[in-house]
Symmetry: C2
Subunit: 590 residues, 2 copies
C-alpha cells in the first residue's frame, strides 16, 4: 500500500513531481531486478466457485491460481508441472510482451507444444512495465475450466505510479458455467451447433453465488439471501477500507464470454490504467470491461463511513441471463456483516451501446514523458472482416472468410526450423471484397479452414482495421474484444459501419491514442489499430471470447522471420508435430 | 457365417476331422496374409448409449468404435488420428500379443507416448491366431469414456474352427456412468476419496436403457416399458436366428468395473473359446465374464420357434445397483417385436461366489494338437499381494505395498535408449511378508508410489501367484480380473486363503491348464499363473477394473531387455518425457 493521503485531484502537481522524480530512479533500480521462482502444479479439483460444486482447473490447490506479484525488471520463472491425467496444458501471460522470449508466450500450436501430463515446462520471461495483468490457459477451452490468475507488476522500488493512492485491491472477473469445459468444447464443435448459453454465474476473484444473492432483499425475481460462515469457497471477498482514503482498484476480465460493467455504489471511479498503460484520468460512474482487458481505477472513500457499499458486476452487450456478481466495500468504521441499505448499482441496459461507446471512445493515453507516440504513417494495412459462417454444416467464425484451424506443429518451431507443410504457406487475404455488406448476413455463408500467417517485415508499422459485420442471423452483430499477443497497439479510432479509408483515415487519433493489448469492435462497427512489428516471434491476434476463438476467430502474425531463426528456443517447447518428428528423425536410431 | 448345419455334438468326429484337415492348410494360407488398413479419428461426440445423452469418446462417429474383422496372419494397420481438443490418446489391442511389435501395444507410459491432439500414429501388428478380441483406450480412464470396439480374428481361408456353427453374433459388454470419465478420474484421485459408485447402465454393443426396461412387465421396482422406433442409439440390437441351427455367440467384456453374468432364456450355452484360446467344451446355463475376458459359446435354436427369448446381462461380485442389460433372440419365424412371455433369466446371487468359482474352475484347455503344454517347472516365481491402502490420505491399491505410478517416459523407450531415472530402477518386491494376514484389513495401511519393473530373462518361465487380501474395510475382499499384455498365460489353479507353496503347488494343473490373457482372483483367494517370457518388450500386468488401475493396481514386466535395445521402435512413439528430450538434445540446435 502507498502512504499518500493526498489524492491526485487535490494536489496533482505534487503527485506528478514525485512520480517524475521517481522515474529517474528507474534505471538504477532496474539493476536490482531479481528472478522470481514459482513451482506450479496444474490439476483438476473439486471446487465450489458459485456455491455449486464443480470440477475446476486449479493451480497448487487454489482457484483462481496464485497471484504473481512482481516488480518491473523482474524475471519471472514458473516451473509448470502438468498433473492432469490425459490433457496437455499451457499458460499464457496476458499482456506480457515477451520481448526476446516468444517461446514463453504460452499459446499451444503457436509458441509451443502443449505440456504433456507428468511433465514440467519452464516459463521464463521479464516483466518490463508496471500494470495489471493476468494469466490463463490457452489450449482448448481450459480458460473456461478455471485456469487463470492475476499477475501484478509494480514499479521498481523507489519509483511511484503517476497517481497517488493509499491502498489497492485486485479483482479478477470471470464467468462460470456448470457444464464442463469439455462439454462446452464439444457443443461448439458439434453439428448442428449447440450454443453454450449464458454463464450461470459471474465470479469476482473466483467467487460468486448461484443459488442465493447477497442482495436478496432487492432481487427480482426473489432469491434466497446468501448466508456465509466465512470460509466458503464462494463467500465474497470484502474490500475493507478506511474513510477518506484513495484506493486503487485493479480490475481484469478473463471471462470466457461475458462483457461486463462494474460499478461501486455511491462512489465515482477515476480511470487511470488500461492494459498496463496509463490513461488520461477520467471519472465514471460505471466501467465497461471486456474479456482480455484490465483497468485500474481510483476511488475515494468519501461516503458515509457508517455504511457499506456494493460493488456490482453485470453483463453487457448480450441479453443477460446471469445475475450480477456482488461484493461489498466495507468501511472498517462499521460492521463487515452490515449489508448496504440501498440496492446494488443498476447497470446500463445491456444493449445501450452508446453508453459503451462513450466510455471506450474517451480512453486516451496519458501523455507522460515515456509515452511512445505512434508512427505517423503505416507500411502496411490489413483489414480483417469478422463473419459468422458455416463449414460443412459446422458453425464457425472466420476472418476474411478463413476460419483459423490451429496446426499440430507450433508456428514458432516450424519457422525456426523452416519446416514445409506445418501450416498453410499462403498468406490469408489482406482485405475483403468491396461489395460485402457488413449490415446483412453473409450472402454466401460458406467458409474454409486455414492456418496461414500474416508475415510482417521486422520493425515495420502495421495498421489493422478490425471490421465487424452482421452474424448469420439478421440484425445481429456481436461485440468482439480482440487481443494481440507480443504487443501493445495504439487504438487509433472507432467507427460505425464500414471503415472508409478515404474518409475515416483522416479522423484517426495520432495525437494521444491509448496503448492497449485488447480492443473491442462494436456491433456493425470498425476499430483501427497500429503497432510496430518489433518483436520477432509468432503472435496470435484473436477474439478473446473463448468460444469464438475455439470456433476459428483469430489470425496469426509472424514478424522478424529471419530473427526467429536465430532465437534460442528451448527444445522442450517443440516436442510435438513436425518439429518433434524432425528432432526424432535427424537423430537417427540408437 | 459358416455353412454347417450339423452341430459339434451330433457329429463330433466329422467336425473334428474337418478342423484337423483345415489346420494343415494353415501354412499355405498364411502366405495369403494381407494388410488391412483403417483410418480412424477419435473424437468426443454426443451420444445416447442408454437413451440419456452423454459425451462419448467415439471413432469415426461410431460408438462403440468400428469392428475390425481380420484373418489369422493379417497385418492390421490403424492410422489413428487424435481429434480430441486437449487430450492425448492411445489404443490397446487387447489379447493381441504383439510379437516383435511391443511399441504397438497401445499403453501410454509403457509402450508409447500418448498421441497428441491433431497427430496421427500408425499402429501396425499381426494377428496371429483366431479369436474374440477387442480394443480400448489405455490412457487415464478413456476406456470409461467409451473408447472401445471389437476385434474378431477368423481362421485363415479354408481353415475351420474346431466346432461347427451356422452363424455368429458378437456382443461387446460394457458399463456406463452418467458422470464424465474426467469427473470419475478426479473423484478417484481426490482426498478424501470419492467412490464412483455402481454404473448407471450396462451396455450390449454400446446400447442400454436407463430410463425404461425392455421387460418392464417383469421389473421390480416397476419401470416404464421401452418403446423404440428402431433407429435410436440405445435401441437393442436383436439377434435374429433361424430355428434348429447352431450359433456362435462371441462375448467380450470391456467394463470399467462390473463383473457380469450372461444368460439366454431357455437356451443352454456350450463354452468353446476363452480369450482367443479353445477350451474343452462344457455346458452352462449362465456365463460369468469379468472385465478383460472374452468367450465364445455355442447355442442351438432348439426352442419354440414361435417365441423370442431374452439375453440378459447382470452384475456379479458387487452388490448390484444397476439393472440387467437385455436384448432379444428373435426367431425369424416370429415377429421381432414380440417380447418373450417369461421374465428374463434371473442371475445367480451377486455374492454366490461358489457359483462363480464352479464356472471358472471348470475351464480347461482343449487338447488340440497345437496346444502348447506349459513348461513343467518355473525359473522364477513372484507373488503379488493385492491390497487397498492409503498414501498421504489418498486411497490407493498396491501390489506388495507399491502403488503403480506411471512415469512420463514410456518404459519401452527408456529401456531401448538406456535412460537413467525414467522409472524406479529398483525392482519391486517378489513377495510379501510371511506374517501378513490376508483375511484382515492391513495393520499398517500406508503404502508408497512406485514405477519399478519386474525384469525377466528372455525365454524363462515365470510363475505369478496373485494373492488377494482383505481391503481397508473389514470382511471385504473384491474380485480383481488381472490382464497381462503381450502374452497368454496358463492358469494353473485357484484357491482360497493364502497360497501355500508347499501344499498348493502340488495341486496345480499342468495337464490341461487354459491359456488366457485375463484371470480373476476371487475374494480372499489366490490364482496361480505361468508364462514364458518369450516376447521382448515391456508389458503391463494389471487389474482390468479401470478405477483400480487408475488407483495403482498394476505392475510392469520387462523381458528380453537386451533384445529391446535391438528393436526398431518408431520414433513417433517416443516424443515425450526423457526420450523426447534425448532426441531433442542429441540433435543440438539448428
Amino acid at each position: 500500500m502507498g502512504s499518500f493521503s493526498a489524492s491526485l485531484v487535490d494536489k496533482p502537481s505534487r503527485a506528478f513531481l514525485i512520480w517524475f522524480f521517481s522515474l529517474s530512479l528507474l534505471f538504477h533500480s532496474s539493476l536490482g531486478s531479481k528472478a522470481k521462482h514459482y513451482k506450479w502444479e496444474v490439476e483438476y479439483m473439486y471446487w465450489s466457485p458459485d456455491c455449486i460444486e464443480s470440477v475446476v482447473m486449479g493451480i497448487n490447490g487454489e482457484f483462481p491460481g496464485p497471484t504473481i506479484h512482481a516488480e518491473v525488471g523482474d524475471i519471472v520463472n514458473v516451473e509448470l508441472t502438468n498433473k492432469l491425467h490425459t490433457e496437455g496444458v499451457v499458460i499464457h501471460w496476458h499482456g506480457i510482451r515477451q520481448f526476446g522470449t516468444p517461446w514463453a508466450d504460452g499459446t499451444a500450436s503457436i509458441s509451443q507444444c502443449a505440456i504433456n501430463p507428468g511433465e514440467t515446462f519452464h516459463y521464463r520471461f521479464t516483466v518490463d512495465r508496471a500494470g495489471t495483468f493476468f494469466y490463463h490457459g490457452h489450449y482448448g477451452m481450459q480458460r473456461s475450466a478455471g485456469l487463470y490468475g492475476s499477475l501484478i507488476v509494480y514499479p521498481p522500488k523507489g519509483v511511484r505510479e503517476p497517481f497517488p493512492y493509499d491502498g489497492e485491491f485486485n479483482l479478477l472477473l470471470s464467468d462460470w458455467w456448470h457444464a464442463s469445459s469439455h462439454q462446452q468444447e464439444l457443443s461448439l464443435s458439434t453439428k448442428p451447433f449447440r450454443w453454450i448459453g449464458e454463464p450461470q454465474t459471474l465470479l469476482i476473484n473466483g467467487r460468486g453465488q448461484f443459488n442465493c444473492s447477497l442482495a436478496a432483499l432487492h432481487s427480482r425475481p426473489v432469491q434466497r439471501q446468501c448466508k456465509f460462515r466465512g470460509n466458503e469457497q464462494c463467500a465474497p471477498q470484502l474490500l475493507q477500507v478506511l474513510p477518506n482514503k484513495t484506493y486503487r482498484l485493479r480490475v481484469a476480465s478473463t471471462t470466457a464470454l461475458a462483457s461486463l460493467n462494474l460499478a461501486i455504489g455511491h462512489h465515482k471511479m477515476e480511470v487511470v490504467e488500461a492494459d498496463g498503460n496509463y490513461v488520461q484520468p477520467f471519472y465514471v460512474n460505471d466501467l465497461d470491461i471486456y474479456s482480455g482487458e484490465s483497468y485500474s481505477v481510483l476511488f475515494k472513500t468519501d461516503q458515509d463511513p457508517s455504511k457499506n457499499y456494493w460493488i456490482s458486476v453485470s453483463v453487457r452487450g448480450r441479453e443477460p441471463n446471469t445475475p450480477q456478481a456482488l461484493t461489498i466495500i466495507n468501511y472498517k468504521t462499521t460492521s463487515a456483516s452490515k449489508l448496504p441499505a440501498s440496492p446494488p448499482p443498476v447497470a446500463p441496459l445491456w444493449n445501450d451501446y452508446n453508453h459503451s461507446k462513450s466510455f471506450t471512445y474517451q480512453i486516451r493515453a496519458r501523455m507522460l514523458p515515456d509515452y511512445p507516440n505512434p508512427p505517423t504513417t503505416h507500411h502496411r494495412r490489413i483489414t480483417l472482416l469478422n463473419t459468422q459462417n458455416y463449414i460443412n454444416g459446422y458453425t464457425k467464425w472466420a476472418i476474411n472468410n478463413i476460419s483459423l484451424s490451429l496446426p499440430s506443429t507450433p508456428y514458432l518451431g516450424a519457422i525456426k526450423h523452416q519446416l514445409n507443410g506445418a501450416y498453410n504457406h499462403q498468406s490469408p487475404p489482406e482485405n475483403y471484397p468491396e461489395f460485402y455488406d457488413v449490415m446483412q448476413p453473409p450472402v454466401n455463408p460458406n467458409s474454409t479452414y486455414g492456418s496461414g500467417m500474416y508475415v510482417f517485415e521486422f520493425n515495420t508499422t502495421v495498421d489493422v482495421i478490425l471490421q465487424n459485420a452482421n452474424a448469420l442471423a439478421k440484425n445481429t452483430s456481436e461485440i468482439h474484444p480482440w487481443h494481440l499477443h507480443g504487443h501493445d497497439f495504439w487504438v487509433l479510432g472507432y467507427g460505425d459501419g464500414k471503415f472508409n479509408p478515404g474518409k475515416d483515415e483522416k479522423k484517426l487519433n495520432l495525437k494521444n491514442p491509448p496503448l492497449r493489448n485488447t480492443a473491442v469492435i462494436f456491433p456493425h462497427g470498425w476499430t483501427a489499430l497500429r503497432f510496430v512489428a518489433d518483436n520477432p516471434g509468432v503472435w496470435a491476434f484473436h477474439c478473446h471470447i473463448e468460444p469464438h476463438l475455439h470456433m476459428g476467430m483469430g489470425v496469426i502474425f509472424a514478424e522478424g522471420v529471419n530473427r526467429i531463426k536465430e532465437l534460442n528456443i528451448p527444445h522442450e517447447a517443440l516436442t510435438c508435430g513436425m518439429t518433434g518428428r524432425m528432432f526424432m528423425n535427424n537423430n537417427g536410431h540408437h
